[in-house]
Assembly symmetry: C2
Homo-oligomer: 343 residues x 2
């Protein structure tokens, strides 16, 4: 069970779950997540933007889409994950978008590097502002988040205008979004309208109140930044519609999944089918990294588990570290499977 | 509030809500729903299909995708809605995919008409079988549903291989799905693999057990068929992240929405902003039909409502008719809005 037995979700959480969506885990079989299966977390409403009149303001410059498209063009495979992925599995549970484990996707993003546009800029932080507006924590606001100048100037940041070879769909930030590889998704501001230069750290809601690891409301906490390592498996066998319980036949089953980390390359994935942790085969990295493991499934009830390690020495805990906002829960993925006797 | 205050959703319902997804209602502003915003209800897992080896079996013929693409090619705008849309708003609530109101989309589907492929066929029903497999109601099964021969032979049914001008995404039935305009979405079998001719009515799970309007478990009930009329509005103003409460400024607000019915053309949409039902302006039909209404919003708390009528005389109830499975709830859409004074 993904939640504790008897756990219930509130009406407000359901409203969020009905509009945001995860990537069904069988889509881990796709190396590049098809449009419409990539996760989406949208704080307010999806804006409708006219690309003809759209301008990106950078400091005191106003740049058209055509000008951005005429600049250096780069395509990168990037795994993006929501900072709240796994939130609904924490106890007690932070009340917000109730993600189980599906808030991830791996896409090919095309755009122009941000770095050349920041040449000569000298400031403490760069602020990225989207067109989406709403009320959050009692504060009316446009969605915006800042990055320290040295992070914003990294080589791998993009101003992205294409997803999987086509213009961004509205829900992914059309016509332009920031893309910060390796950081949780809230950093990659969608419907980007303005880039501002700040002399001191930004104190807006999405930096100073939300997206912080804290133990209590009074705790200032630390910012949520890069993606913790995680391996997920495409659940083997077939599901029960209602319970999503997996049913498989006895025999050789190749378990497949993907692993990623925002801190460093994935170096190892392990699988436990009931006899302790064993090393999985790794594929090439393309954003995330494919892995597989051959399991000789015997009749009965099983719990399969997988976990990833990266080159920074980070791994995945058995028991998730709790925090007030329900962020960065990268506890080990476990999948119960019922195996029928072979006939 | 979408649910009764204090209402809670179970862990199993959340699992379904995390993998199926609705169309955020602000996307009603798009006449053609962008890929990734159209609703999705997937009973089991999304299959991965190799289009090169794919064959559609019709009776004793096996047809390749290339052969299907060489047949007559037709594009139709079609509004598709899940039979369970509105389920979570019923009380007591059927436990299944807990849709609020987002289970809809309007797409341009391209394929070849089914009718010529049924020429000379003489039988009671046609059975459409998908590649997706799972367990439901305790029964292992492939997803399949039948239609009476006379319905299957209607002019408007397609074997669809494109959505909005591109090959079907995996989650919409790649490489081929049935498309039955005007019927609830469960009829349009995805990942279509076989079309069979039946001498008597099909008694499989998805026809005889699921998708029936019944009052009790013992009630045989009647089949869910065509889409009941409905108007939905793009909620005005901006949302609160957590409660989704709408906030708008006083002044003239044009309320926009779409209306559709599977029984007949939409002839009238009405809006109530607090002074009784008033007629909205109608646009041209393109699948669904756009409508709009100018509202002079005054400071305070308001509840906006909309409802549609079609040429068959059908409309929308204030109080939804209850049934065990939570199907076809087309009760009037109501949106609470807080209007601030103009500054």
């Amino acid at each position: 069970m993904p939640l504790a037995p008897g756990d219930q979700i509130t009406a407000e959480e359901l409203q969020l779950a009905a509009r945001n969506h995860g990537m069904p885990l069988e889509a881990l079989r796709h190396d590049v997540t098809p449009v419409g299966l990539h996760y989406l977390l949208i704080h307010y409403d999806i804006p409708v933007v006219d690309p003809g009149t759209y301008r990106l303001t950078i400091g005191d410059r106003a740049i058209t889409l055509g000008e951005l498209r005429a600049m250096e063009r780069v395509t990168r495979p990037v795994t993006m994950e929501c900072a709240g992925n796994g939130r609904a599995l924490l106890q007690p549970r932070a009340v917000s978008q109730p993600w189980l484990l599906e808030a991830v996707g791996n896409a090919e993003w095309t755009g122009t590097p941000l770095k050349p546009l920041l040449e000569g800029v000298d400031c403490a932080e760069i602020l990225f502002t989207g067109l989406d507006r709403g009320v959050e924590g009692g504060e009316p606001q446009q969605y915006e988040r800042s990055l320290p100048l040295e992070v914003a100037r990294s080589d791998d940041l993009l101003l992205a205008y294409e997803l999987n070879g086509a213009p961004l769909p509205p829900q992914h930030g059309f016509p332009l979004r920031l893309l910060v590889p390796g950081w949780y998704g809230m950093t990659s501001v969608k419907w980007l309208t303005r880039i501002s230069f700040l002399d001191r750290p930004h104190t807006g809601y999405q930096n100073a109140t939300a997206y912080r690891l804290r133990e209590t409301e009074d705790d200032e906490g630390t910012p949520v930044t890069r993606i913790e390592p995680r391996a997920l498996m495409a659940p083997p066998g077939v599901p029960d519609f209602m319970t999503r319980r997996r049913h498989a036949d006895a025999g050789r089953i190749t378990i497949e999944g993907r692993a990623w980390s925002g801190w460093a390359d994935i170096t190892r994935v392990e699988v436990d089918t009931g006899d302790g942790w064993q090393e999985a085969r790794l594929g090439e990295a393309h954003g995330w990294r494919a892995w597989s493991y051959d399991w000789d499934a015997t009749p009965g009830e099983h719990v399969l588990a997988c976990r990833a390690f990266d080159a920074s020495g980070r791994g995945q805990p058995d028991v998730p570290p709790w925090n007030l906002g329900g962020y960065a829960n990268n506890a080990v993925h476990r999948v119960p499977v019922t195996v029928a006797g072979s006939t």
